[in-house]
């Protein structure tokens, strides 16, 4: 048994932590969030150069990692620094689906992704689908050697920056069927594709996407017709490991900021951390943080195992519960200062809580866990 990071991952963690603590300050990040693009191309390119994106792909895909613990290592650091750049969307989701399903000409895009030159976005969720991965009402119809897409996609993160959207649409089956869902690589300039962009609560941008008779060559399909669901599930599993690790990183920062505040802020003539009422609550956060670390380890370590889905449901449920506790208690123990945009914890708390709304909240994953344990 060995819970240490490998030498390579340790180096990656050290490099990333150093770079982000130098460059990704609260001020720098707030400027990025307030910019029109909502993300920084400069930071993106520099992190790509440091190998952050390559670490999320296997050697045969052109990267040098791609395993559960590679994902966890990268996203823990991104979470610690509250990074808003869309590594999840471009690399894990977009890149993940292309490598899982793409033919040679499609997977050729991955080199550009790893080098930082191409953004991707997954346009899968729809206005009524909530977290249900199989609920797809957008349609794809073959018309000669073309495909015609129609439908609406909700909260498509990174759509505006993306060169391609990976759009799910139905070629068969009913609205909730797992079979019949196809995935398509849609260039963002395509006629009939409309993006209504907006900023998000925890930074970065998303868009409501309308597909109105979007015509593509049949070659834009990723994988076989109607057989995209399995790859979606696999890719979302990887995204869930990333999100759990990111939340853990953010929780490390939240508890560290809280520790610093408790030992420096004085009221009633003494550091507030000397009040047992606060000291005990701080200790509880640390206890829960260790639970969280183990949950992430379980999820990352089981990414290729038959236990994968159960472990991931467990991890996301635990992270959602502990995340809310850490975010709320950290704010509460700080008081008003944590409510201000310019203080680091405000953003970190938003990252933690808003993760609940990607691929399922505490209840969704609890139900998944119950179903999977009963199976």
């Amino acid at each position: 048994m060995n819970f240490d990071l490998t030498e390579e991952r340790q180096m990656l963690q050290d490099t990333l932590r150093r770079f982000l603590s130098d460059r990704y300050t609260t001020t720098a990040r707030n400027e990025i969030i307030e910019s029109d693009a909502g993300i920084s191309t400069e930071i993106w390119n520099e992190l790509a150069e440091l190998g952050v994106i390559g670490a999320l792909f296997t050697e045969e895909q052109g990267g040098f990692g791609g395993a559960g613990f590679d994902i966890a290592t990268v996203f823990e650091e991104l979470g610690r620094a509250g990074v808003v750049e869309p590594f999840l969307d471009t690399a894990v989701l977009g890149g993940g689906l292309i490598t899982a399903l793409g033919n040679a000409s499609q997977t050729a895009l991955i080199d550009d992704v790893i080098a930082g030159g191409l953004h991707l976005a997954l346009a899968h969720g729809e206005p009524a689908s909530r977290y249900d991965l199989s609920r797809v009402e957008a349609t794809a119809k073959v018309d000669g050697d073309e495909i015609v897409l129609n439908g609406r996609k909700a909260v498509v993160i990174n759509a505006e920056a993306a060169g391609y959207l990976i759009v799910s649409a139905r070629e068969g089956g009913g609205a909730f069927d797992k079979d019949g869902i196809s995935l398509f690589l849609v260039p963002t300039g395509t006629t009939g594709l409309t993006l209504q962009g907006y900023a998000m609560m925890s930074g970065g941008r998303a868009a409501e996407v309308t597909l109105d008779d979007v015509r593509l060559p049949v070659s834009a399909r990723l994988g076989a017709a109607g057989a995209g669901y399995g790859a979606l599930v696999d890719t979302v599993a990887r995204a869930n490991v990333a999100l759990a690790a990111e939340t853990m990183g953010a929780m490390e920062t939240a508890t560290e900021l809280t520790r610093e505040y408790l030992v420096t802020r004085k009221q009633f003539g003494r550091p507030i951390g000397t009040f047992q009422a606060l000291a005990h609550r701080y200790s509880d956060l640390l206890i829960e943080l260790e639970q969280a670390r183990s949950a992430v380890t379980n999820a990352a370590g089981n990414l290729e195992s038959t236990d994968r889905d159960l472990q991931i449901a467990a991890a996301r449920n635990l992270m959602a519960r502990v995340g809310r506790l850490v975010a709320e208690e950290s704010i509460q123990m700080h008081g008003g200062i944590a409510m201000t945009q310019e203080y680091e914890l405000a953003h970190i708390a938003k990252r933690i809580v808003m993760t609940d709304h990607r691929f399922g909240d505490a209840d969704y994953h609890l139900e998944r866990f119950i179903d999977l344990s009963a199976a």
């Binding site: 609560m201 009040f275 509460q332």
Partner: protein
């Protein structure tokens, strides 16, 4: 024991309902329901509608032009207003400064300031907290030094809610630096247009421009703006804080929030069925509703004692803690209820001419969730309230 309202109380409730149905503008209640910002004009309009009815001053004694309602009437009114999505009454002039002037102000101060609060001439804000004096309010450092017939004020206040709109600020200042903490504080009324005052907005985590820092640089304040006696300000401040706690349980807000949550949970679906039928979510709603039913009765028990003339003690601290926990839990469930549409940033969905993102009820829910973390922080944090309860009960 009788849990129902008396015939008079029911008649009063009907009167309030009829008034709200007739006089509360639809566009105003829509804004409140959607969690949108009313702006200064919106608040002033609602105040003037209430004032024309003689109800703006509902807690004030008759001798000062008030309606002098008892605690049950006030509760009924607050409850009905929350249920109708009426704006809250901005408390700084009406329920904070007003009662202090009634009890400790000079005749001249009462005659001058009180009518101007009611007719909307003056918008007041509160100058209590400082960067180094939050929960430990008595450690405040802003000082006022007597110079002829003026005080010269230097220092900084913070968390000044809606200070950007204010014409006047009531301030706690240190007038005797050598006295024990609580004993060297005075209560000053300061015109916000006096040279040397600067207001800087603080942007909160949900993006709202709600609170401010107020800086005082050699601000000259006429001595007649002192309320009561010099160095007795802490007594007045404590009196004001007990008034700040009326209605502190927020039962009406919670009930309106719970209704809104259920409405949304009937529209939203999970696995193709209404969210309200999802066993986990239904259990969460039921749990908070059970808590709210009990708290609502606790609230009425305390109100009933108060209208019988007993001053509430630790009960108001208990209501503050429980009330804020329940409100925050409802905010949390509302955020979850809307699923991925909780992620868009509110200002993009609520303001301006943009098309709404997702269902119209989803826009403000995350902002409200984050913004209402303040409920357990301000007005004496929940930690301070718990300290008060224990101290009183253990006789410390």
């Amino acid at each position: 024991m009788d849990l129902s309202y008396t015939a008079e109380e029911l008649a009063f409730r009907d009167e309030v309902r009829a008034f709200l149905a007739e006089k509360l503008p639809k566009d105003m209640s829509d804004k409140v329901r959607r969690g949108e910002n009313l702006g200064k004009e919106g608040h002033e309009l609602w105040h003037s509608i209430l004032n024309n009815q003689g109800w703006l001053s509902y807690s004030w004694p008759k001798e000062f032009g008030g309606a002098e309602w008892n605690a049950v009437q006030r509760h009924i009114f607050d409850d009905e207003c929350a249920a109708a999505y009426a704006p809250r009454i901005v408390p700084f002039g009406l329920s904070m400064l007003g009662p202090v002037l009634h009890k400790f102000g000079s005749k001249e101060q009462q005659d001058h300031y009180l009518p101007r609060i009611l007719d909307g001439t003056d918008w007041w804000c509160q100058g209590y907290s400082e960067p180094g004096a939050g929960s430990d309010l008595a450690s405040l450092k802003t000082k006022a030094v007597r110079d002829g017939d003026h005080y010269v004020v230097n220092g900084q206040k913070t968390w000044t809610t809606l200070g950007q709109y204010a014409d006047w600020i009531f301030c706690l200042v240190r007038t005797d630096p050598d006295a024990k903490q609580q004993e060297g504080i005075s209560f000053l009324l300061i015109d916000m247009n006096t040279p040397g005052i600067e207001v800087r907005p603080i942007v909160l985590l949900d993006g709202t421009p709600e609170v401010n820092e107020v800086f005082f640089d050699n601000v000259r304040v006429p001595v007649e703006n002192l309320v009561g006696e010099e160095n007795k300000g802490w007594t007045y401040a404590k009196y004001l804080l007990t008034h700040e706690r009326t209605g502190i349980a927020g039962v009406g807000f919670s009930r309106a929030g719970l209704d809104a949550l259920k409405r949304v949970a009937r529209i939203e679906t999970a696995n193709g069925r209404p969210l309200i039928e999802n066993p986990l979510f239904a259990a969460r709603i039921a749990q908070v509703e059970i808590d709210l039913m009990a708290m609502s009765t606790t609230n009425l028990r305390i109100i009933s004692q108060a209208s019988a003339g007993q001053a509430p003690g630790v009960e108001s601290s208990m209501l503050k803690v429980k009330g804020t926990i329940i409100r925050q839990e409802i905010n949390d469930m509302m955020r979850r209820a809307v699923g991925p549409y909780a992620m868009p940033f509110a200002s993009e969905t609520v303001e301006g001419d943009n098309d709404p993102i997702g269902p119209d009820y989803a826009g403000p829910v995350s902002a409200q969730y984050f913004n209402n973390r303040k409920l357990s922080i301000f007005g004496g944090s929940n930690e301070i309230q718990r300290g008060i309860i224990a101290k009183v009960k253990m006789g410390g």
